[in-house]
Symmetry: D2
Subunit: 351 residues, 4 copies
């Protein structure tokens, strides 16, 4: 495996769903930056399960401990180690299905690659590892805060219910992080139906990063959009990523898609704030396709580890739609990549 | 900048549009692999400009030279250096617009980041750098060939004209690499219109990798889809990337999206051949959103390097739609990432 | 900072002398390798302070906890996180000298680089961080164990007292890890004198790695000796590293220094087991120059953080000679580098 | 193999002794730095063979070509590709010994690792690859020049003839780069004897880097001395590296070895300008053990690729002592590492 990301803002995560805990080391953070534990805890709380009936009922306080790298509310320049201990890991829930590959899950591939019997809760492949991403993202946000960079993600659509209008403040208070107050009730209704039918559903989330200065990104391979695509696609549920007009650009003409440049900035933002792999100073705008969570109670055909067919039904504490809980994770990955891009760009300061 | 990609299959590219030449060093290739110059040249010829009226009329033979790393048709294990000299670089074409930021191009961002006057033809940001990717991709394909891994890309849509059916052999012979013989003429017609109007248009291409063994990809950050997303998004014209059902998954239910597992394999391929960031043995299937080429002769508003508004019209030798020429580049990036993932996975062979 | 080492066998360490604890994440370990906590604890015990009067009297049990990556005595392939909590961190000892740069220590440089007030016990620059290296080294040794690779370090000299003969078993039982039973008493005597005079003294340690297969090392920059030199020179007290004949080679002739090759192996080992940066199958033999520990109670001139001269005397719990405690650390770094080189060489297995 | 070095100042070298040429890509160089071809050529000329009877008689002009990354005497920020074509590669010289492993050379290890028949002149393992290092070093020196950092290497000893006094200007003009005018004639005399006897001899060189600002180096693994040790040990002939007092520190007491700090700087430089892995502002001083060149005409026992014993005598154009030609290479590696350390430290500029 490789749970290491970043060139200068370097993160290394660890932890399995039903092990002792999960955590992260953040290395490369400059010294003297304001950082306290409440700032990190606040971000973790935004990702926490058990907060509404539309997300997993696993009960975790997800209390973070800082083991190193911070003293007196300031970073030391040394590696920052953060740990969260698992509390409510019910391995029992998995005993009856431990011999089956769950469809849509990583089980089959982990078995093929690592040659091990299946781990309870998916082990390392569980969404629980995203907790470490959010913790690291809180540190990245602390680096970006003095630059006034603000990153927010919200739910644009679930199934066929799609936002027409975006109100980020509303999204922050809504249990599904729905961006549009007009459609929020319909979205809740749909999700209630899905939950009761034992099924799950996909959606689209959007990430917006405001006030990113022009100049971040290192062509030709560490372009800002390439780095962001990698960071975001590494989130389990993400099956597609697009910037600005994205797939709509495939139907546009150059005369329509090109963002005209004026003395006061760009007249449109089809590029999503990135041109030639470098931030252009406009809002960075990203959409992510989120797949329906694969854990459903509706019976599905699969095979066991001997290769024989069986039907399986997954009961347990699962999210019927993961969009709202992916939002803080997507923000975190965006912050982590921007922090790295920002530090990488400092080399140009020698000029 | 950072023109270095890969952890074990490592590539480093160089070259500007109107400089001496472009090239690549491939390091980490195992010794004893069959590789000859004709194999590499063949791939470069698939990307070459000037081959039809629907692509750039720049005349380049793009003849590759191997400077190191190969002897007697076998790799030595040492770095393989490949160079292609530029022949038909008409800097004159750019003199009249050297003070203007071309809308939709990287000019503005390069100026902000590197603080330099604009380079003819976009310098390093030119699509000409993709030549080095294709050369490196040919070497990656040579590593994957004994595994029977076959990678092919083709045009799925241009504007509103979209393939219903995929015939890879037809695509290989068609000037637009159109996947569907039924719509190929309509696609040509549309492109003729676009070309004559001085405009450009976007499209979607698909990349398919067959026979990839299960087990490639290194969670949680170097997941196979994350690495592919980075490699593919680093191609200039790409604005979106999706795997399998991709953005369609956002409207699907779990019971529909999950690929059922049978003793004979998966019953569907909504995952696009990757689960939990690891290849599952099924065809890896990727769609890319290609933006309309920004160089158009229709006049557009922009600013000059002093920040004052001007109108500009870009005449020169440009591609009205870049999809067909991106295909070999997308194949190359896919091959490069798969080669790296394959070598990374060798560590598990110690078990 | 950058507390990350390794390309495939990747370690990331954290922790300050007087913080909550120190630890390491080891990523890239293949799955299915035998590993239990007792194996790791045993190595930590070999490095522990407070075990004799010739080493620091700091009392630490250094009990390791495994947070992830291991189940049922086997590695999972996922990151292995190890944590040791600090117990006996007496920050009080440092209060009276917190405004002074200790000569021979990193204080001055940390102040210049990180701009922070001095951390108690040196913070991140303390030798306590080597605990994380030893923990990671234990994991590396577990990877190398099935290959019969054995790594041992011992004290070759302290001051002018130098071993003539090497008995590794004796060294393992001797409190100073003295390699030669004949001189062990003299070494102890010298160290007693040094300790009582409030001074410290340097020495030379040797690391030997037996049964390393031919072929490890990746020229031209990740040569095995280059990687080992980096790993070993990154240990605080090391001021020189040499392989085989080392600096003696500077006075030798080629006819004398070249190791003749016979059908049964090399006739001598002036190369120290590495030729052209690649292991040749012979014992890898390395000598390290260890500087006298800078913390001495004899008064020394220095400056305070305002830049004014002061005399300082360092009282506390320090090692008069660090050689014996560097031995397990040097073994660990050797094991970590060999583990990485071994995994890197697996790519050649595709041939 | 891995011919890639550096995190921000990234170099990738290529080329075999008897191939088309050797070269390097330097990536990560900031834009707007003064750099012209004469500056690079001058450094290559300092390394060139055939300049006196005490070095290899291979006749090479070693003329460098810049393929990219520079325009109008300034760096563009894009990768800088430099190529030197081989002219005088007489593969014929090696035909008669192509089946034999040369003692002290990498032949045996390359055969074991890469499984290939031996390449003429050692192929990639030849000292000719150091040409690419010197070219990259010239670019690194261009980055360091505005900071007034000056790096020079000279010969401290050959065999038993050792400099007492160092005159860097004299060394620059002397064919052996002997540091001490008083012993220069004796050194020449010794080398004449060695050359005529068909043997070779080792020596020690010193590298001094002046005006390096305090603060370079990234603990705990990318310490400045660790990075320098790796870069320098990766040079083929180097068998030992020490900083400041180095191995002499092993016999010193703390009271003697600690460099006292005064308001005007350090009173001595036993540390060699590096404390805790970070530059302290004093001169960085490094000594390197250089082994006798293994190519000697005196007959030596070895084995052939079938494993049977044979005697061999190496005639050709070899250096009886490589010290003088290693000097520019050691300077280059020092410059490359310092350039990287300097760029890495820029991240602290955000504070």
């Amino acid at each position: 495996m490789s749970s290491r990301l970043g060139q200068l803002f370097q993160i290394s995560t660890f932890g399995e769903s039903h092990g002792i805990g999960v955590g992260v080391i953040i290395d490369g953070m400059p010294s003297g930056i304001d950082l306290d534990i409440a700032w990190i805890q606040k971000e973790l709380d935004r990702r926490r399960p058990g907060t509404s009936k539309w997300v997993s009922q696993r009960q975790e306080t997800d209390t973070v401990e800082i083991l190193s790298g911070v003293a007196n509310g300031k970073t030391l320049g040394s590696p920052i180690a953060l740990v969260v201990r698992n509390k409510d890991a019910r391995s029992k829930d998995y005993e009856s299905i431990a011999h089956l590959f769950r469809p849509g899950h990583a089980d089959y591939c982990y078995f093929k690659k690592y040659g091990l019997t299946l781990q309870p809760g998916g082990g390392r492949s569980s969404g629980r590892e995203t907790l470490a991403r959010v913790a690291a993202g809180a540190v990245a946000k602390a680096l970006l805060a003095p630059l006034n960079i603000v990153i927010q993600a919200y739910t644009l659509s679930i199934g066929d219910i799609r936002a027409e209008y975006i109100d980020p403040d509303f999204a922050e208070t809504h249990p599904l992080r729905c961006a549009d107050p007009e459609i929020a009730d319909k979205m809740v209704e749909l999700l209630d139906d899905i939950r009761q039918s034992g099924d799950s559903i996909g959606g689209i989330i959007q990430v917006a990063a405001e006030n990113v200065p022009a100049g971040l990104g290192e062509p030709v391979f560490n372009k800002l959009d390439a780095m962001l695509a990698m960071g975001l696609m590494s989130i389990g549920a993400v099956k597609g990523v697009e910037f600005g007009a994205g797939f709509k650009a495939a139907q546009m003409r150059g005369s329509e898609h090109n963002d005209s440049i004026t003395p006061h900035g760009f007249e449109s933002n089809n590029s999503g704030g990135i041109l030639g792999g470098i931030s252009n100073g406009d809002t960075i705008s990203i959409q992510l396709a989120i797949k329906p969570t694969p854990s459903i109670s509706i019976p599905q055909p699969t095979i066991n580890i001997e290769g024989n067919p069986e039907m399986m039904s997954i009961n347990g504490r699962h999210d019927p739609c993961i969009c709202s809980r992916i939002c803080p994770v997507a923000e975190a990955m965006t912050a982590i990549v921007l922090a790295d891009a920002f530090l990488l760009n400092q080399r140009q300061s020698v000029r």
